[in-house]
Symmetry: D2
Subunit: 341 residues, 4 copies
């Protein structure tokens, strides 16, 4: 089997996950190089230990290497678009972590670059590959749900981020709910046409002072006529709450949370089961692998990627519309956002 | 034990349920009389068989009977308000089926009459007495959920009503979702201040022709800062879907559907459990009894009723606001509706 | 509709349940009379209030009344057989609470009397009518489970009986597990041929001093080749535990416990649901009604009863065999027990 | 971190699993060598690819290598004991797949060799490390279950093995239920003192012709007074059924099957969830890793191993007793078996 030769830019948390997944679990690919502009000694040791041929503080070493066929961009968000453009120029296949950029024009330029270069561009919305949510979509595609009518997504974090992070994150819709907009579009099999956002500061007043909300409920209209709702909270005391329900003319499919085990304890107080898995690293462990396997398959076998750059852009429009809706207290059509750019 | 003497006006479906419940299950009350302006022979036989002393085609026979202490109004909706006023004039305690009327001014007059007469007035929002939903509220009141932040209600019927009914029903918000507005206010422990409604005709085009929607998703804001969402569908192929989730700073409580049994069948296809109980008569059997027990307790022991006339009015404001929101495609504050009257 | 005229002998706990069920829920029957040899004033008032024409301290008043068609025997166990014989002599249809007697010869005489008189005799093994367990049997009869191979029954009480009761109860196999032997035979669709009993005193040493065990595990062999196991405990701290699993060549069906509601509470400790319903009165409320409806249907429509006197006898053989197995520390064939009588 | 240097003898299915787990997931250990007496070319390539320094057709190359500290024995069952003895002679720490041998004297000699050499010997009863079953044991050890009274184990395979395999496997108790005897002892926290076995040929007559049963139900008595039951079937059409329930004076803990996802599909037929994970490779993936991590931890940190050679011997006594019980149709004490050797 010919292995796809991969270079990774960015050796932070998510870069490490992808590197280790490729090295351990994905025999279809070979980790050729890892570059990070702030490469620390222990990262260097770690990368070498994983068998990377190129370990560098300069991403150019990855981009210009002729044997590397695909680039995984895991650097800081503000550098994503530039690396996409550079990788496209180098005719590399591209997997880019979400979001491509916080600026729509920059996202567009990146997408355009990849398009013109004729290379694939997959965005890191890993939840589409989750065993639960993918199963729901399979039911829908198999006709078991009939015409999709209502999509409901519950997405709550176990702990709020520090208010300092919130201030630069782009806000709850860009930072957190963007995953759910992507999930909603995936499950509905349709783009979002309009959103209405209700939000509140109920978890941490500091988040409010930073100009954001920590609790939000967004109504969605889809192009295919379905409607949907997403609820986000920055803090669920019982842990990471990730559930999806798709209701249609022929049935409904629901995914419950994952837990560490199936054990229940019955005593005088009731029958108690485990809490959900703690957070996204525990919850989406396999999805991180599966999105990469899917990307590699798309590249090697000439298939379309499952999450395109256009998906990333559409998700961002939804997030921007939600922000505007919250601010202006009215439903906002995505066409209105699209026209702004 | 002194039994509360009760007369029932209206011997249709819901009147029969209340009559039989009192006769069979509620020893604290005595069914003294039943009147229906279109009393049929078999209804007369049935009523006598239940031990009713007065069985009449004239509600006046109930209203003027000096021994009857409480009146249960189960007649057609357009007569509710007048019977409330008449019962108040006769100093009877009043239980009135929902809605009091489709006209807000008439509702107000009825409430005013009951208030001036100093009689109790309970509205038939029986779901507050449901074993599941009441349990959630108990958790909240016990502090197990902390501050309520998000209320989510799923409420879907197994079959749509005939389009002819839809045309005179007041529409999905007045006819169907009004139960959920009441549930939302009950679970939030707070009034609704604003709604935003998304709706669609996805079940039956005839419902659309009748000027209504059959699928709706309404976002709620509550006076206490919480937010909420209700989704309604006129048709869930798997049956009556009645679920509530309350999420708060200290935890979350969820009620699943009721089923006829707990059996699962495992075979090569999966592990299959029963569908939900078919419809409201099966699902809320005990709640119909318990709301009546609660009313009788309030009357006999001088307690406040659990669902007041003002609750009924607030629920109606929410329904009217939802209708306006859907029509005008904007969030509508309930204050705006209140001011219209 | 012609109502079946019923007389009840014995106005204790179970007699009251049957009387009230007939009066309230079973329009196919009429409660004609109630007799109890120790009739107290409040029982008399209660019986008259239920509409019984005959209320007496002498069961003969029931047995000799020509209009009464069926007798329900709810008196103390040691009088069951004699009342069966007397009722048979009076050509009454008979429903007799379990067990018919603790003495096999007396049971045989009672069965013989009913058989010769040509009257029906149903034994009060109400669990066959339970919504969960009946559903499992339906699956089996519908072929969904294939050939039954393993039957597993969990049956645990919330509280042990007083040791004084244990001493006269006949022991755990006769007093408690006999219900499970009947359930096992019902679910296997086959008689038990051999049992092996393991038992222990783990709940209350006083039960051991009374010569009984409080924890028992009995292996079953059925005539059709299936095997099974029953486990009993006199005390489950989480409440009444009543579960059945039937495993076969085509699938498996399992019934979980019933709970008062479907609500779960998620918090930092886990996700907690309700305990099982407390005890048999709460758990088998509907089954007590349904067994009576079934008996009345059998009588009125000439159908065989669902639980025959022979069933009762077979269940007793199994219980006696289990007792012998425990004592003699060996598997005991039921044929060995049958030959003793 | 100093890595434990490991050599593996046997490159079949289970040897491959351990080799890959060590190479990929267990940084605390280093895979130094792999030997298989029938080493094929593709195995050689695979082993080298995993980074093994020694890849050989001669286990002696592993045993005599001075740098290798621990040996994992994954060869055919009949060679286990000899390799244990050889490894002990070479002062290697030992992990041996189950069973050590089908002959008790040979097992004893192997245990004695390891004991005299002062090396650790862990047996491959991986289910003790399963996330579900380990969680139950944690509850028990934390006191949440009180005194253990009843242990129930359901263990059913998705497909029967070929009859030819059955003939040489040692039979259902040695080949299949031995895992459950070990689980029972683990959960009870006590040795088994007596067993009674009921068995039947219900799945495949060929298994019966091979002198074995395919369906079995074994009652257990434990030294601490608890009782238990294991049921085995060689074929559950719905898949691998692995459940444990521990009931005690303070509560009960139950583990349900694992499934590939949490999704349910509701439609007109009911609410259907996934089947259990297919078989032990899918079900116990993580347990295979965790048992190895535990072994390495025991070796490196001087802790006792979790599954000792004596555990393996006790489990075998239980299996032999069950076989004798089935044959002689009587309960068999383990002391009786122990005395035979």
């Amino acid at each position: 089997m010919e292995q796809l030769k991969i270079g990774i830019i960015g050796a932070g948390r998510i870069g490490k996950i992808h590197a280790e997944n490729i090295a351990r679990f994905i025999p279809q690919a070979k980790l050729e190089g890892i570059a990070d502009i702030k490469l620390r000694a222990e990262q260097e040791a770690w990368a070498k230990n994983l068998g990377a041929r190129i370990v560098s503080g300069d991403p150019e070493d990855i981009l210009k290497d002729p044997s590397i066929e695909a680039i995984i961009i895991c650097s800081s968000t503000d550098t994503h678009a530039d690396f996409v453009i550079a990788a496209a120029a180098a005719k590399k296949q591209i997997f880019c972590e979400k979001p491509v950029d916080l600026s729509v024009p920059k996202v567009k330029r990146a997408l355009e670059a990849a398009g013109k270069a004729g290379v694939k561009l997959q965005i890191g919305f890993n939840r589409r590959f989750d065993h639960n949510f993918a199963r729901i979509r399979q039911y829908t595609l198999a006709g078991d749900i009939g015409q999709v009518q209502i999509v409901k997504i519950t997405s709550r974090d176990p702990e709020p981020p520090p208010p300092a992070y919130v201030a630069v994150s782009g806000g709850i819709f860009i930072d957190m709910m963007i995953h759910d907009f992507d999930m909603a579009r995936f499950q509905a099999g349709s783009d979002i046409t309009e959103v209405y956002a209700a939000g509140a500061v109920l978890v941490d007043p500091e988040i409010g002072k930073a100009g954001d909300v920590d609790t939000a409920l967004v109504t969605l209209r889809f192009a295919n006529g379905a409607i949907g709702v997403i609820d986000n909270s920055r803090k669920a005391v019982y842990g990471y709450d990730q559930r999806v329900e798709v209701f249609g003319s022929g049935g409904a499919a629901r995914a419950e949370n994952d837990t560490a085990n199936t054990v229940t304890l019955a005593n005088g107080k009731g029958v108690t089961g485990e809490k959900p898995l703690y957070f996204f690293l525990q919850r989406y462990t396999q999805a991180f692998i599966d999105e990469m396997v899917s990307f590699i398959d798309a590249v090697k076998n000439g298939k379309p990627v499952v999450v395109t750059g256009e998906d990333g852009l559409e998700d961002m429009y939804a997030a921007l519309a939600a922000g505007k809706s919250l601010k202006e207290k009215r439903p906002v059509g995505l066409e209105e956002i699209r026209k702004e750019y």
